[in-house]
């Protein structure tokens, strides 16, 4: 496993919310990389992001940012919040702001907000030029573009993006990936991005580190390339299916054969049968782990 410095380090983060329980004994987000927070809707991604950003403060546990600041500093030292660019759901912009007001208010709120860059970013993202329209009247996609333009127009060290890809169309998702890469390379190794997504396939090409969250818990995490070595996709003949089943994480089979994911270290146990081994994609890994857990928890 690769060694890294944490941009965010969390310990014993706990948040109860009715029946839902977010319980993360240890959290590490590597510095200088794009980290994907992956999970189904309701897994606790947004809650975790809100906790990290200080949008909600009703949690237990401690956080450390940039190896220097703790969560009290985040609330008291303007430098911390200025270094964090957060984009999230739920009245992120107040509903009655117009596009113009939104821009002016961001100018007031953040010293490092670069209006020219913001405008340029909006143009790059093809946000319709309607200054007097209310932000809440814009489409979800356009609202997201405004949010992204807003955080990227600031001078930050860490971006926290809540589901940035989901309201965007494929072309814009591609641009989003480009923007994240551009951001990461703008200060080699010092800028980090943490984004959540429930559809990893869209963001696979920009994900360096992955944290898979399910039912409020982290079920797998690691650098993508490490995970691609940790797991392998196994394909085999129908006849060997039963034999292989014991080592497979998840399995799909048809009349001709089966396919599944297994830990690379358990591949030895399949010696003797004829299987084809492939490198898995990130989504294959995620899906397999999710399926496995659903089976454990007795969910369909």
């Amino acid at each position: 496993m690769m060694e890294f410095n944490s941009v965010i380090h969390g310990e014993n983060i706990l948040k109860k919310y009715g029946k839902f329980r977010l319980d993360i004994p240890e959290l590490d987000v590597p510095r200088g990389f794009a980290t994907a927070l992956i999970g189904e809707n309701g897994a606790g991604k947004s809650t975790l992001l809100d906790i990290i950003a200080g949008i909600r403060l009703d949690y237990k546990g401690s956080l450390r940012f940039f190896d220097r600041y703790d969560d009290k500093d985040r609330e008291n030292d303007p430098a911390v919040k200025n270094a964090i660019g957060y984009e999230g759901t739920g009245n992120y912009f107040l509903p009655m702001w117009t596009v113009k007001q939104g821009r002016e208010i961001q100018k007031l709120l953040f010293d490092s907000f670069d209006e020219d860059k913001y405008i340029e970013m909006c143009r790059y993202l093809a946000v319709p030029d309607e200054d007097n329209k209310k932000i809440s009247d814009l489409s979800d996609g356009n609202q997201m573009k405004l949010k992204l333009a807003g955080v990227l127009a600031r001078d930050t060290e860490l971006l926290l993006l809540d589901e940035p890809a989901s309201p965007l169309d494929p072309l814009m998702r591609d641009k989003l990936c480009d923007m994240i890469r551009e951001y990461l390379q703008s200060d080699e190794g010092n800028k980090s991005v943490l984004f959540s997504t429930h559809n990893i396939a869209d963001m696979e090409a920009v994900t360096d580190y992955m944290i898979l969250v399910e039912n409020g818990r982290i079920v797998e995490q690691g650098f993508v390339e490490d995970l691609k070595e940790k797991y392998v996709v196994v394909k085999g003949e129908k006849a060997d299916e039963e034999f292989a089943e014991k080592v497979l994480y998840s399995k799909s089979s048809n009349a001709y054969g089966f396919e599944g994911l297994c830990l690379a270290e358990r591949l030895d146990e399949l010696a003797g049968i004829n299987v084809k081994v492939e490198i898995p994609s990130l989504s294959q890994i995620c899906v397999a782990i999710m399926k496995q857990n659903s089976a454990l928890y007795g969910i369909r």
């Binding site: 200088g32 990389f33 794009a34 990936c177 480009d178 890469r181 551009e182 990461l184 390379q185 080699e188 190794g189 696979e204 090409a205 920009v206 994900t207 360096d208 580190y209 650098f223 993508v224 390339e225 691609k228 492939e278 490198i279």
Partner: protein, 124 residues
Amino acid sequence: MIISQMSGVPIYQQIADNFRTDILEGKIAEGTYLPSIRSLARDLKISVITTMKAYEILEQEGLITAVQGKGYAVNAQDGNMLREQHMRKVEEGLLQAIASARIAGLSQSELIETLKLLMTLQEE
């Protein structure tokens, strides 16, 4: 640099191969810095960790060295090593040829004949 998402060869491997060839062929001079990990990732539209892994492979092979705060510099390549690297490529290519020959049902002598023929053709 051409990167294929579909080739089955891991992307970091493709990147490493490309740089290796360029370094061994002397296209990249000794002492020059390779593009930074993150700018290469941006240019190739791939994730940072992938380029990082490619550079790590090259570093392990002794082709490049990480310089703190500056990136990865190309090492001096001695003649033997160059030859060794080329040998490895020759072996790789031949192994592939052998595999194809097996599928096509070519005998050993037929394969060697083909190789000789090709070599004469190229010399002309």
